[in-house]
């Protein structure tokens, strides 16, 4: 194992064309010469993050609505802008201007706080995602762990929202959300650990670079695809989407934990859900599909050169979109699971499989039984 690890680190340091330079690196470099440039970098990255969040949210909502419509033999939004492109813009402006209601008997402070907590948890995750070698805000050396930790924070917002609304349906929804997210976090982490074992690093850009000879989904024979599937199922559950949308469960709990929210605060939950979809898709792409790394097979230089024609950012976007499509596809196809079936799936099926998979992965790494070790 140490051999392969050494190979990884050396290859990344010496011969890789993918020298990663994050925004924080640039800011740190600029600090001695001109502190103003540093500030400009910081302000720029903050603005970019804000723009990214709103753009991502809006475009994903638009895509989801269009996609759903086409799955269902409909047209979807058509009237606002060409093919309804401005539909989500109109929706956002309307939600911004909508009255903001706090129910009389709600816990006012918590009720106001919850959507921001939910939102910030997902936005924090965006900071460490490697979009391309030159576009990453910070490359934390425990990136994978950080994403898991921050992802777990989001449930606080949901729980708070359900509790503070003083509505029984909201509370049921929040309790379901807490039980579900905490359970599925375990499986998601187990799947993530498989890749960490192979890559030998927790840093997300390090994981991407470790896939220069091939993506872990196929390079780790068997365990890669199993881990990918587990990760996809667990992360769908974490984002509360069908077939795991029991916390909102429209036909059961009216609107679940955000029943009492209106206007902007409701839109925060709405946006957080879609940013979350992006984050888990980007994570699935980063961990298993090589992130911004083009499709490469170790040794086939001709293929690698052709694949390298598309810039890394494009690859990242393509893969993420693929996973997003997969998530949306399942959302508009499956019925909803029941809460105890959901728990059974996690604790009696995904978790044991995840553990076995992790052990198998450890053995494979130990004996170097994977492609291009």
């Amino acid at each position: 194992m140490s051999g392969s690890l050494l190979w990884m680190t050396t290859s990344a340091a010496q011969a890789s064309p993918w020298a990663v330079k994050t925004l924080t690196d640039r800011a740190a470099e600029a600090l001695p010469s001109s502190p103003w440039l540093t500030l400009a970098y910081l302000a720029g990255s903050l603005a970019a993050l804000g723009a990214l969040v709103s753009f991502l949210g809006m475009s994903l909502i638009y895509v989801e609505r269009k996609l759903a419509a086409h799955f269902q033999c409909r047209l979807g939004p058509m009237r606002v802008g060409p093919h309804g492109l401005l539909q989500t813009v109109a929706d956002s402006i309307k939600l911004l201007l909508k009255e903001d209601i706090v129910p009389e008997r709600a816990d006012r402070a918590m009720h106001l706080l919850a959507p921001f907590l939910s939102m910030s948890a997902t936005v924090l995750a965006l900071a460490v995602l490697p979009y391309s070698p030159s576009l990453q805000i910070a490359d934390v050396n425990i990136g994978a762990l950080y994403i898991t930790a921050v992802g777990g924070l989001g449930v606080m917002g949901t729980l708070l929202a359900g509790w503070s609304s003083n509505n029984k349906w909201s509370l049921i929804g929040a309790m379901r959300a807490a039980a579900q997210i905490i359970s599925y976090e375990v499986s998601a982490t187990l799947a993530l650990l498989v890749v960490v074992l192979f890559a030998g690093t927790l840093s997300l850009s390090g994981i991407v670079q470790s896939q220069a000879a091939g993506w872990w989904i196929w390079r780790a024979p068997g365990v890669g695809i199993v881990a990918f599937t587990i990760y996809l199922i667990a992360s769908t559950a974490e984002t509360n989407r069908t077939p795991f949308d029991i916390p909102e469960g429209e036909s059961e709990l009216t609107a679940g934990f955000h029943t009492e929210y209106s206007g902007l605060r409701f839109s925060f939950f709405f946006l957080a859900e879609f940013i979350n979809v992006f984050v888990v898709s980007a994570m699935a792409a980063t961990l298993f599909l090589g992130g911004w790394m083009p499709f490469r097979v170790g040794g086939l230089d001709g293929l690698n050169a052709v694949m390298g024609l598309l810039p890394p950012g494009g690859w990242f976007l393509l893969k993420t979109c693929g996973v997003v499509f997969l998530l949306m596809w399942s959302r508009w196809t499956f019925p909803r699971l029941r809460v105890d079936q959901l728990m059974r799936l996690e604790w009696k099926f995904l978790l044991p499989v995840g553990f076995v998979n992790l052990a198998a992965a450890a053995l494979l790494v130990l004996w170097n039984l994977y492609f291009f070790p």
Partner: protein
């Protein structure tokens, strides 16, 4: 004498507060009248223990319009339009049930053409109603796409109705003594096309929803209704047949031209939600069989045997007529005093009214999500309960 009149508030009292902050307690929640599962405006008061349903108290009446009182001052032909608005998904069958009872009581004999067209229309409506139910069940269980597929196919049948009747939902087509209009010249061609189309589409339904492991998990062995219980609760229609009782009025007391066509009564074996689900899917297939046999054999003849403006008078007496609608037995109980051309009293025995109460026996012990599945599988139309 032990008559004690109670009120809902008396029953729905908040339980005693817990002594210790860590002990649990049961709590009441309102499901409806505005709730996605209300399918209109049904209110269920649930006593929950965590997620488990301990008790269901249905509180109907949120669309009680007093149709029975209104009908006492209307002539028999005028009442027909009110029956549309009870179970609007089986509007034609409701029309027919009233017409049939009035014809039986007033001694009006119809001709084979009228009966054949009535049967055809009723079966088309049954198919339409079951398709809509399928979609709504999908929506209730979270598969929204099923709902829109159902509406796609429902519109096609709606178009056939529109050609002949001119209405999409409240038909007012089958009248005592005949039909409002003759069928559209395109009717037979379109129905034949529809039969071919629906046969393929039913397979698609199976692929999309019936074969889905999650759906089967959600429906199988949930809310088992034994035949004895179903009969005791007065359930009829697919709900009763799914429990294994082959009680179908189309066979038991044939009306229309049901005695001349070949079809099977679909019965279930266990009486769980899945049986109720698949019984209806299978009933669509049986209805297609009936349509297929009749569509080429519409006999010639007039479509109205009485004069339209003629006021029907019924001799003194009490009459009961019943019909199998998409949801069960719709009974019409008619009392005439023999003097006026309006009924002295009319009462509708609605299938949904009796099927609704099955939920009080089925849901306790299951989770909220199962309650949704159970209610969906009962296929309730609330305005028919409330009348």
């Amino acid at each position: 004498m032990t008559v004690r009149i109670r009120t809902l508030e008396e029953i729905v009292r908040p339980p005693q507060t817990a002594d210790s902050p860590f002990s649990t307690q049961e709590y009441f929640v309102n499901m409806g009248p505005q709730h996605p599962i209300a399918h209109g405006s049904l209110r269920l008061v649930l006593l929950l223990d965590g997620e488990t349903v301990r008790r269901v108290i249905p509180a109907p009446g949120y669309v009680h319009r007093g149709i029975e009182k209104m009908a006492e001052s209307l002539t028999y032909r005028q009442i027909v339009h009110l029956t549309d608005r009870m179970d609007y998904l089986s509007a034609l069958m409701n029309n027919w049930a009233l017409s049939k009872t009035v014809e039986e009581a007033g001694g009006i004999a119809t001709n084979p053409r009228i009966e054949t067209i009535r049967t055809l229309m009723a079966e088309l409506q049954r198919v339409q109603s079951h398709i809509l139910w399928w979609g709504v069940l999908g929506m209730d269980l979270g598969a929204f796409t099923a709902f829109l597929y159902a509406f796609r196919d429902r519109e096609i049948i709606g178009e056939i109705f529109e050609d002949t009747i001119g209405a999409r939902l409240t038909m007012n087509y089958i009248q005592p003594g005949g039909l409002m209009f003759d069928v559209h010249p395109d009717f037979a061609r379109k129905v034949k096309k529809l039969i071919v189309y629906l046969r393929t589409i039913l397979d698609e339904y199976d692929t999309l929803l019936s074969g889905n492991a999650i759906l089967q998990e959600r429906l199988r062995n949930i809310g088992v209704l034994t035949p004895e219980k179903a009969l005791a609760l007065g359930c009829t229609g697919p709900v009763l047949r799914a429990s294994g009782v082959p009680y179908d009025l189309r066979k038991a007391e044939p009306y229309g031209v049901y005695d001349q066509v070949e079809f099977d009564v679909v019965i279930g074996s266990r009486g769980d939600c899945w049986d109720r689900y698949y019984a209806r899917i299978e009933e669509i297939r049986q209805s297609l069989r009936i349509l297929e046999q009749l569509i080429d054999n519409i006999p010639p003849g007039p479509t109205m045997v009485t004069k339209f403006a003629e006021r029907i008078k019924i001799p003194e007496g009490a009459y009961y007529g019943q019909m199998e609608t998409a949801r069960g037995v719709l009974g019409v109980f008619l009392v005439s005093d023999g003097r006026a051309d309006t009924p002295y009293r009319i009462h509708f025995r609605s299938p949904n009214f009796n099927n609704l109460w099955a939920i009080t026996a089925l849901a306790p012990g299951w989770r909220i999500a199962d309650l949704i599945a159970i209610q969906s599988s009962l296929d309730l139309v609330i305005p028919d309960i409330d009348r």
